[in-house]
Every structure is written in C-alpha cells, then in structure tokens.
Symmetry: C2
Subunit: 137 residues, 2 copies
DNA sequence: GTCCATGCAAACGATTTGCATGCGT
DNA sequence: ACGCATGCAAATCGTTTGCATGGAC
C-alpha cells in the first residue's frame, strides 16, 4: 500500500507535514464524510495554530488532484477517502450519510451525456434502514 | 396543464402572490438552474421590497413539497423545475449546467441501497461538448 | 535560492434568525 | 379570528482573501 507521502509526490504535490497529517486523517476514516470544519477541529488538536485557510487550501488541492473526493451537502463541504463512483445516501431523519456500491456500473445510464466526465456523484436523500425500522414500532 | 395556484393548493400550501410569482418564474425557465440569489434579484424587479428571507423560505417549502428540485453547487443553492430523475452536468470550463436524460432508469444501479429514497441526484463534473470543441483548435 | 505553502487576521457572501405585521383560509 | 406567511434588519457561519513569513525542493 502506497504511503500518503508517495501519493502526494506522485501527484506532483510538495510533501509538507500539514498535507501528510490531513491526508492520513482522511484515509484513516474510510466511510466517513468529514466536513472541512471538523477536519480543521481535528488537526488543531495536533497543531493548534493551523489556520482554517491552510486546511481549506489543502483539502481543495487534494480533491482537485483526485486524491480525495468532495461533495457538498447542507451548505457544507464534505470530504471522503473514496474516489471511485459510489452512492451517497443521506438520511433526512438522523443525518447520517451511508455509502452504497453502484450495482453494475454508472456507464449505461450516462450514455446520453456529451463531453468529458471527470467526476460523478450519486446523491440520494431519504430515510435510512435503521430510521425506517424505528418508525415502524 | 395545472396552474401554479392549483399545484400549491394540492400540496397543502397557502396560495400567496409571492409563492405564485416565484413558482411561475421557475416553471417558466425549464432547464435553468437558478440560484436563490438570482431568483431574489428577479422578483425584486417586480416586488422591490421582498426580503431574501421570504424567497429562501418559499424555495425551501417548494422543494420540501417536491414541487421544484434543489441541488447544491459551488456553495450555492440552485433550484430547477424538473423534479424527475435526470443528470446534471456542470462544465468546469464555462460553468454551465446541462441536463441529460438518464439512459433507461436509475433503479438498476440502486439495487444495493437500503431504506426509502425520496430524492436522487446525479451530478457530473467535467468539460462540456462545446468547451471540448473550442479546446481542440 | 526559488517558489510554493503556511500562518494570521480580517473580510466576504450566501443563508438564517427573531420578531412585528399582514393576509389567506 | 386564527395561524401561517411576509417584511425587515441584524446576525451567523462556513469559507475566502491578502499579505508576510517559512519550508520543500
């Protein structure tokens, strides 16, 4: 498995402690959809004087390079380690975001699209299975 | 074709001039992805003292009822008249958002998803066909 | 040594809040 | 008449900017 330092280097990014720390944190939390703010909060516990601007810069750079994935939800920027096409399901009852595999592939449904696709996001909203069960009682 | 007044009434919403005006404007611009702010700007030209809060309230209510569709892009709330599943393609070169039909249906790719889905959004980013052509020269 | 990344503070802008008034039912 | 919707102003909050300093290469 590639180290985060190698990942940064092979994407043409300079290797700085802040970038390493951030990318490690995101990679160590697969399945999580971390807000820029919560990431900032976390890294401040390690490097107290890291400014928001640096965190936002790094997150943007990492997602621009395709190293992490970026989605917007409820007015916030969320980042996740998973960069392959998948389904994000947000429960409107509990607020949790679950990932699901795309059954088969995205390609068939995209056959009408003209142009070059660099990123695909499938975002579902609804009531997750555990909230559905609680409501049934 | 149902009038916007009928649409509001049958969704259990009170019929007010502001709601009618807003919904009409969105319905009259199919294929457009209107920001809350641009909608506010537009209606101010008709009702100069309509506050942002009212516009935001109404847009939220309309999308909660499923009368219009809501997506988030680049930190802004966008609204469109189309509420059936379709593809939103944002060109990273010119910023335009194009709609495409989903080839076949969403359902097959969603077969892994547990829970009740109330809204599906497919959001693509890339370079649209006209920007691809301009770059080829 | 060069240039990009970081640290810092202040600004920004889209959206939201609280409350008084008005209007649809 | 009742209760939700509107008008208004101010506040909020996630994010961005400008610029000086520091560190990776």
């Amino acid at each position: 498995m590639e180290t985060v330092e190698q990942t940064l280097k092979s994407s043409g990014m300079k290797v700085t402690p802040q970038r390493v720390m951030l990318l490690k944190y995101i990679k160590e939390n697969p399945g999580e959809h971390l807000s820029a703010e919560s990431i900032h909060e976390h890294v401040k516990s390690i490097t107290p004087n890291i400014p928001a601007a640096t965190v936002y810069n790094i997150l943007k750079a990492l997602s621009d390079k395709g190293i992490i994935n970026f989605i917007e939800l409820e007015g916030k920027a969320l980042y996740e380690s998973r960069t392959d096409p998948h389904i994000n399901f947000m429960c409107q009852a509990c607020g949790k975001i679950d990932d699901y595999e795309i059954s088969g592939s995205m390609e068939p449904i995209l056959s009408n699209v003209k142009g070059i696709i660099t990123n695909s996001t499938v975002l579902l909203k609804g009531i997750c299975s555990s909230c559905t069960k609680s409501a049934e009682q």
